[in-house]
Symmetry: C2
Subunit: 202 residues, 2 copies
């Protein structure tokens, strides 16, 4: 699409781009989005970091997206209203799809509490999107409460906190569920690696 109007700018003869098959041959895995969804303190960031390290060690092209590298940059213009949260998740989904197109396994770690937001990404990028539900009972998450967020939410000083004063809508049919309340980190990472080996390795 040309920036001046919605047509593709082509000069001379434009060769085709590097395609997905070439990238897959090089990397020995397909690109894809591992979308980790779950309550605060369900283990998203921990597992994402450990999985990134493990996959990198296996020779994969891998990158992690989370609030840390998105909220200060791409979504710096967004706040925490419901509409802004939805827009944040939409953008992350689109960026993740660009990484997948580039052949990367992108690990997206976001609470992303609403089915409609996650399903929109799935609908737009069905070949890339893998929904991975980190299923931990809220009691476990609340007991962990590494930052005291649940405590603040119960006290009413944190508004619209997922699981306390705002809903979390679990996936109806996730590609993978990990019971992070019962499993250790190592067991959980192993489940994720097994999934990658089955679904993304070539």
């Amino acid at each position: 699409m040309n920036e001046n109007q919605p047509t593709r700018e082509k000069l001379f003869s434009v060769s085709h781009r590097v395609d997905a098959a070439q990238r897959t041959r090089r990397n020995r895995h397909r690109g894809g989005i591992l979308w980790l969804t779950g309550l605060s303190a369900s283990g998203k960031s921990t597992l994402a970091v450990e999985l990134e390290l493990a996959l990198f060690g296996m020779g994969c092209q891998v990158f992690m997206l989370d609030g840390d590298n998105v909220r200060h940059g791409l979504s710096a213009d967004l706040g925490f209203s419901p509409a802004d949260r939805a827009e944040n998740i939409r953008r992350v989904g689109e960026v993740a799809a660009l990484f997948a197109e580039a052949g990367t396994i992108v690990i997206a770690a976001f609470i992303s509490p609403y089915r409609t937001d996650r399903d929109r990404i799935r609908a737009r990028h069905p070949d890339y999107f893998h929904e991975i539900y980190l299923d931990a009972p809220i009691e476990v998450c609340e007991r962990r409460d590494p930052k005291g967020l649940y405590r603040q939410a119960r006290a009413g000083s944190l508004k619209e906190f997922t699981g306390v004063s705002a809903p979390y809508e679990p996936p109806f049919s996730p590609h993978l569920t990990i019971h992070t309340g019962a499993q250790t980190v190592d067991q959980s990472v192993k489940s994720l690696i097994d999934y990658v080996e089955r679904r993304l390795r070539t």
Copy 2:
């Protein structure tokens, strides 16, 4: 940053992420943004596609961003007003920086006519941003006019067309200038590859 409030969510002990040095060792090049700016028909898309193919062939991790893969997805909510164009370029800059952080050489091909938009990316990501000016006289671009856009702009049916009815602000001090009005595509691609070898290869 946690999605529920602006603090980092940490569970158990979170290991460090895969860092830039590890990615550079693996890829044998640093990540970076090759930002191609220039008039419509100055050769941005052509050079971006050819450069992507060439760098991929050399074993680099490389990906191209342009209107085609950004305007339909990440920036699908944006129109072509001045504010929306600026926001589009801002987002592209942030996404490009994420790719660079992932160790990729990202080629961004956008007219990006305003210095202030480009300088903002440079200021935010000085270690990644390489401004490459495709300098072709407007007479040459207008003679090429592969899509008849200049003709429409002159006739007044395309409003605010860069170089005709809207300004193009050339970079004051680009990292590299390519005279795409005088050089062949092959010569231009060679200049770009030489630049990558000097600046991003390790």
